[in-house]
Symmetry: D2
Subunit: 143 residues, 4 copies
């Protein structure tokens, strides 16, 4: 497996510069591990993300999975902040605990134009995954 | 077509009571129209939702679609705040303008346990849709 | 709306020439209507497609939807037999009757490289749809 | 991990009895391995499954994935021939070789009513997967 195009610190710096609405000190997101085409991202628990029934809301998990895929794309394709999701499918598996979430993203294909990956989301206090995502990112062509 | 189980005002009141983290005065979301199994929901433009490239972020549209489906489920199944998404697929079609988004949700199936629907998202300044979603909601069984 | 790039007869002839394994006299598939980016395709009932419970099998409906999308891509992008599906999501809504199936495909986006569409499948003896599909086709670039 | 509810031979026998249109001697499908909630299924190469460009058709891979999920459901939930797919998403990753296909299915959730799993499809002559599927099966309730 090749070395990652960017490491965790480089990706964090890129995100703070390019996407300050989503990634800033105190936002609750952190990049725990980066390999080529793979990453683990962590989201701290925040009461604002709860929905009726006391569970973390679906859109919170969708946003986390999309963020983890974005980081995984950078790890393989390098500095591509304009990469955009073209489609995403999420399956919710279990009600998460009121705890931090961990998202493990892994690219299954890294093409010139498209990257396809899957993300498994865990609740820190549970052994079994709480959600599974597949997504495709479109990578803009530099001329 | 039957009358909706709840009208727009009743659904708005239910959401303010049950899901105050997502739906409150000034949250930017409004329910423009409700029929049985159908709704149009509006989200005001907010600079915080922009991502690199100046376009509305994917998770913003996913959250809007999920919200529109939730309202559509109430319009058909009534007061079911514990209904939860079991899966959701989104296709991003075009880069949205920096403008309000409109989400038209329509249930294709209303079963006892599962409701399946589609949502088409429009940017207020564009004729063609910017995203399309299909989703399944699980409706808890009252005993 | 522009005229279709190819009409129903032209598409049928193209398919017989390029894809004789799937489309041949007596195969049970017919193209009932073609507009730009839209088509209705019909599949005759065949007992071989039944699965336990006496219902038409899921893969039969997936194959029909994929075929309808392929025809819709030809109606908009012209002679592109090497166009391939990059992803497809199907939701099964109701148990189909033992009857012919009709698939209405409609492209939501026709880009240079990707076409995204939805397909609604009906059983000839039922008012409500039996399945709904969204799919993306990749269109090869001619140089 | 618990023992499988049915082993490979028992599942093959069940399929021959209940679903003879799809599973019969000479059909090209075989069940190579069964664990609880997991299976590997093999499909021999057949020229009839080729599509323009000389690649195995998308619907062939969808049918194989759906079959592998069906076997995995039996391995966990036992004799449930009336279990049906409620939704399925496939991502095509690479053009398969003209060779046998292997489908590795793994359930991520086994509930009373729903089972959710993923399937990775390999072409026998290639190291990297050719397609990835997630699917949900509905398990009928015995009263």
């Amino acid at each position: 497996m090749p070395a990652p195009a960017l490491n965790a610190d480089e990706i964090a710096e890129l995100l703070k510069a390019e996407f300050p609405q989503a990634f800033y000190d105190g936002c609750g997101l952190s990049i725990e591990r980066v390999r080529y085409g793979e990453t683990r991202v962590r989201m701290e628990f925040n009461e604002k993300t709860l929905r009726p029934g006391g569970t973390v809301s679906g859109p919170t998990m969708m946003a986390l999975a999309d963020f983890a895929m974005y980081v995984a794309v950078f790890s393989a394709a390098g500095r591509q902040p304009l990469a955009v999701t073209t489609n995403l499918t999420i399956n919710f598996l279990r009600k998460p605990a009121q705890a931090a979430l961990l998202a493990d993203a892994r690219l299954m294909k890294v093409g010139k134009r498209l990257a396809v990956g899957e993300v498994t989301i865990y609740s820190e206090k549970m052994a079994e995954p709480v959600a599974h995502v597949t997504a495709t990112y479109s990578i803009p062509q530099t001329s």
